[in-house]
Symmetry: none
Amino acid sequence: MARILIIEDEQDLAGLVDYNLRAAGFETDTANTGAGGLARARAHPPDLVLLDLMLPDVAGGEVLRMLKSDPEMKKAAVVIVSAKGQEADRIQGLELGADDYVVKPFSVRELLLRVKAVLRRADAEEGPAAVLAAGDISLDTSRHQVRVKGEEVILTALEFRLLRTLLERSDRVQTREVLLSDVWGIQAEIHTRTVDTHIKRLREKLGPAGDIIETVRGVGYKLSPP
Amino acid sequence: MARILIIEDEQDLAGLVDYNLRAAGFETDTANTGAGGLARARAHPPDLVLLDLMLPDVAGGEVLRMLKSDPEMKKAAVVIVSAKGQEADRIQGLELGADDYVVKPFSVRELLLRVKAVLRRADAEEGPAAVLAAGDISLDTSRHQVRVKGEEVILTALEFRLLRTLLERSDRVQTREVLLSDVWGIQAEIHTRTVDTHIKRLREKLGPAGDIIETVRGVGYKLSPP
DNA sequence: GCGCTCGGGACATCCATGTGACATCCATGC
DNA sequence: GCATGGATGTCACATGGATGTCCCGAGCGC
């Protein structure tokens, strides 16, 4: 079973997470500072790092950067844990190469789901098929690459995530709330044009193939392969 | 819509929460003691339990343990409600298998968001099979898609909700008032042709299959499968 | 400083929806 | 069988809400 490194300064929370991950059959390791976490990671490269962005010593973002710059530790998937409201962190984390994030306070079930999902993806990538496809679009999760009719299309981290979410749930309608929650990590009602704007950008970049992202008026969006 | 059981000893708070959950379209049930709550849960297994940890009789944690140990009630998601600062409760609650946690005083909005998020997650975990059918008509909730003899029929959001409501209550007559309340969310007497108009549009779009929507003169409408 | 990304306000646009008027149907009483 | 009144079917249209689109400011890496 997979090795998970928890870098978190709140002892209570770290203990809780540790307990539950072990109960779910993972091997765990914990550190309560950024420096300590990096040391642990070097000593025993984990499969996944649970990283709190608010650490007493180093900034979480810095830890993430270090992790990703070391060829040995680079393979580890990273799930960001951040306090509610710090949305800038979230974006930044994703741009730096985090694989997912959960917002505090989170439920254990949610955390486990996300951890398992990330590990599953990481697993699948090692195999031959880490490619999601629909119509003319193919998305390679391991290379972080999208092609339309074989032509590469450059997407931002957020756009990639949005497209992947839609592809993983092909044919099922996703409400704006669900997308905000699963792609953005925000739990909120909608008053803004955020989702729409990014859907628009995605459609634009995908060109004619973007038509497979359907608007379901009054409900949300749906990707439906031909 | 989902069933929610509220176990809370403060009458005012219970009433407020109850009112708002109902307004949001949930079915609710309330109990103001732990023992009472367990009894209600046994009688009508809920989809989600809102559990106050500070109860007059049994400790909330004990209630949670009992809930989770009964195979029938185990399926219910649990959201803990507890006074601020009781960090220990939080840890304990989540370890015992609660799905989320709300700290008093909380805003109704926040509670609703969390309840919805938890239910959404629980839903996603169960199979995707959410297809209602009657005669030549089949309705797929997650895809938001309706087919008549395999042919897709495009419905608006409202028409879809109307058809789903009728399908869920096949063979039982629905008065216009009930439909207005459950499909439209309006509580009113009828002076307008609203329901009739939409029934008409639905029949039209369904073609010959639309005949299974029967008019029960003087009462309302009924969907009766052959 | 420049360029990129993202959020979200301010419109423009579109179409689903509610409504009242009228047509039609049907149960009822004679 | 027939007249009658109330219930239901049908229609056209305005209106508001939902979505598409544009654009600007903020934040960040280089």
